[in-house]
Symmetry: C2
Subunit: 288 residues, 2 copies
């Protein structure tokens, strides 16, 4: 438990499940205002166990929201041409507002080419070059879901971003790089750290907000964080059937002013943000 | 004058004119290997005095290199549709390998829409969403000229980038953001600072390399820089007919291990990089 400057008790643990619930209610209201049934298409190659689980989660929430949902599952040996043909059909299908290609793809397929076949207007993972470029240029577009979830968690708790020093650890195109850009666009000063960064603890110790997305259990330890910092933990590390974050939650929770738990922090927001992106994609496409 | 760890004198001042000369000779050799005359088209709206000077510089170097050069100059009242039509003609003209729209444009034109009408394969300013997205995703594409010039200057002096702490001051889409991305792709740890950054001197004092692009005469002062840091000055500030950089050169040159002067540092590299991008655009387009 933490206290603010006036000695009042602050709720230190950010509850992603609670915010997801609230945001879903708001989304349901927004959906009522749309003139058509929203549609999401998921393209999968092969039968990867983890992918199956993720797709089921997406399907469940999509159906709960009343979305039209298509799951196109290709065999492992599908050719790039077949996949591109299918994506072009979905690009031109007015029932479909959002398209995602479930990663990973088999090695004989060029993930970049396939991802960039998706129309930027239906790219609800925000991974096409066009949407990545819009993000860096601070132009409205579709933004990856996990970074958007992080921003929503920070905003919900009225954590100021402008003028703060933020450290992002991890430079993936799905999390680290887009969240760094979103935060720069929100007037934070951002340090993007990664595996080649030296003296990382010296950098994190100066941070008001730390976003850790490295995929290593309890990578961020208490000695790396200054008092009252905010820690956002994007890690999902499985060990003996249990989930662990990238942050050493138990030892950090009394130092931080806010921290996200794993599970129950950033994770629950991601599928909500995907559904929200489907709605946003629809509104962006109708403006065209 | 500076000394390295062994007490040897190091050349502290980075000479952009000299490197430009060397790089131009290398480019001339590369051009000999191309099967066609390279072509650059510059589209200008109105008759802005500074734009005229920049275009003349580009034309001069293009002709020196034997490029085909077209300058399309529209009146101030040209419509967006006319401009888009012209850009599409240039996109489809095989004689043209690179296209730039000279900024600024009059307010009745949407600069984003016009810039993004240029085919990403001919976008030698590297400003389309597609090329900005490729840069952040570390995929080969066309990169803005000034950031490329900075990388060439650093590489020429064998200034290590991997694992260094770099501070970039200024977050423009033409300089600050792309150089930050290029440096992250080269395994530097990058802090992107801007007008909302607090305590900037504390941040710059920890930097191994500082890149300053804020457009304020002598913004970066000696007390903001640690000994033996590298300072790259992108500023071009005119005062009473004289040019000044963003760095207080006279007081910094004895502290830094390397520093670029203004004029004669980053500036001379930029037009060379444009000509190099025309060649690169040709090779990328031929691969398609």
């Amino acid at each position: 438990m933490c206290y603010n400057k006036d000695g009042e008790v602050k709720m230190a643990i950010i509850d992603g499940k609670e915010l997801r619930k609230k945001k879903l209610e708001e989304l349901k209201e927004r959906i009522k205002g749309t003139k058509k049934q929203l549609g999401l298409a998921v393209v999968q190659v092969g039968h990867d166990e983890a992918s199956n689980v993720y797709i089921k989660q997406k399907e469940k929430l999509a159906l709960e929201l009343g979305y039209y949902f298509i799951h196109k599952n290709f065999e492992e040996n599908v050719t790039q041409e077949e996949l591109i043909k299918e994506l072009n059909i979905l690009n031109n299908d007015d029932k479909v507002d959002g398209i995602i290609v479930q990663m990973p793809l088999p090695h004989h397929l060029d993930a970049s080419v396939i991802q960039n076949t998706i129309s930027p207007l239906k790219d609800v993972d925000g991974l096409t070059y066009v949407n990545a470029g819009k993000l860096i240029q601070n132009v409205d577009g579709l933004v990856p879901c996990t970074p958007k979830g992080i921003i929503d968690l920070l905003d919900e708790h009225e954590i100021a971003l402008e003028g703060t020093n933020v450290v992002v650890i991890g430079r993936s195109i799905l999390v680290g790089k887009p969240i760094a850009n979103l935060l720069v666009n929100r007037n934070a000063t951002v340090v993007l750290c990664h595996s080649k960064t030296k003296n990382i603890a010296e950098i994190t110790k100066n941070a008001d907000i730390i976003i850790v997305a490295v995929g290593k259990k309890h990578y961020l330890t208490a000695d790396m964080v200054k008092k009252d910092a905010v820690v956002i933990d994007v890690g999902i590390n499985r060990e003996n059937g249990k989930l662990y974050g990238d942050a050493d939650f138990d030892n950090l929770k009394d130092i931080c002013s806010y921290i996200t738990p794993v599970p129950g922090g950033v994770g629950p927001m991601t599928v909500y943000e995907l559904m929200n992106n489907v709605h946003l994609a629809y509104t962006l496409r109708k403006k065209k």
